[in-house]
Symmetry: C2
Subunit: 301 residues, 2 copies
Amino acid sequence: MTTNPISMDEYLETRKTLVDQALELYLPAETCEPPVIFRSARYSVFAGGKRLRPILCIAAAEAVGGPIDAVMPTACALELIHTYSLIHDDLPAMDNDDYRRGKPTSHKVFGEAVAILAGDALLTDAFRIIAGRTPAGAVTAEKLLQVIQEVALAAGWFGMVGGQVADIESEGRAPEEKTLNFIHTRKTGALITVSLRAGAILGGADDDALDALTEYGRHVGLAFQIADDILNVEGDAQALGKGTGSDQSRGKLTYPALVGVETSRRVAAQLVGKALADLSVLGERADPLRGIARFIVDRRT
Amino acid sequence: MTTNPISMDEYLETRKTLVDQALELYLPAETCEPPVIFRSARYSVFAGGKRLRPILCIAAAEAVGGPIDAVMPTACALELIHTYSLIHDDLPAMDNDDYRRGKPTSHKVFGEAVAILAGDALLTDAFRIIAGRTPAGAVTAEKLLQVIQEVALAAGWFGMVGGQVADIESEGRAPEEKTLNFIHTRKTGALITVSLRAGAILGGADDDALDALTEYGRHVGLAFQIADDILNVEGDAQALGKGTGSDQSRGKLTYPALVGVETSRRVAAQLVGKALADLSVLGERADPLRGIARFIVDRRT
């Protein structure tokens, strides 16, 4: 473990490289049968994601002094779950998006049937990787079971899936803050929060540190979604790799639609302030998490 | 544990009732938010399935003297995974089926988006239920992790999902036995085999019993699929609750299409014989599994 301070860019870059290497290791080769399912899964997993969820998971483990190798399978599993959710959200029956990160979406390349099945397989494999790839002895089996349970809870109907359902149902309806909070805390917030909790649990956090990282997750999760909504309104379509203004044309319920861009920006900044305050019980090992909180609202893509 | 012999019908009926009661307990109420996801999931889970996979899981545990309560969450999780696979297989982008077990399919009732998400949520919740609902102390955490890993392997791209992909790709192509075996062992065989393995592992099977139950699972899994193909050719559409002859009109690769109905029937009977032989190392506690093997090829729905 290094004690030299490293820059935020360097931290994100090194951790992203570790995650990409591990994903390459965990995902089956494209030569396995039937190849199209592995090719389509790899197409979406290696489509240029920022690896935010795995990095949050790793950073939470590091913030409490845990080793990276105990947490890497879970960190990658969270990215696979995120990727599956994007593939399914982009389907014609859902958001019907043709592009994601500047590339044609899975169903445009491989057809709807394979896109649905690639999502299903990625979600399934996430649990295989947590249960089967975590090094024996690195953490107790009981902790791994707790993580599996929490990840499933955050990804399922009480979390991400429930948020997506509410999001679809809200389209074209009168905007209400209560509904918007319901969607945001579930659709993106739940998986981000559990990324931090999983890292903390596997990293050996005590109760205070776990609570602090959970609250940090809730605050950065919401800040991230608001920042995402703002980027959809006024971001650079080329840098984002997808069209902007799509939320508005679709009648999506978003923060900017509800309270305007300026207020949204202020709320996001307040949430980052709360996230930084949450980390006050943790020492300088939590500096990367402090940097990530600021990065989330400053990003341009 | 009873030592009185009970009839096969009675065994299947009592175990099905236990599974239905547990599913009722594990599945969230339809009043949870957003209600449509819970309503759609319950619609498909309680659509009249035979509960074959959970019953095989329970029967495997009972065959090695294990208690039912240790295995019930996993047994129900297998049914949720089976249900999710039916919902997604029925989608317009896949088999485009309007009816299943005599009822309109999920996407016909709730729309495609909700059907996709209901499948996603059921798959996700299966892992939450195994990890979170198995009574503490009933089995070791290590065994539960092994079961999670094996279930995910059987349900994912090396199992059920891979089989479905190969099945879709085979439509309209020249029938080959190699391809057919690839599809059958994965699309239905893998989940049936892991139902037995999971029950055996959680029931405390030794290596010999685990091997025997694994082989039994491979043989009844294939017999089940062949019987299913035969029913699709000459079954009673009303009893099945869906149209017959659909495989043929779709150019699906099936056993009857490849070798004819009579040879298919003979192969299925041979497989049941092998399955019974597999159980020779187990005593009369395995009688329900013997009955199920015969039931699988004799059934009419």
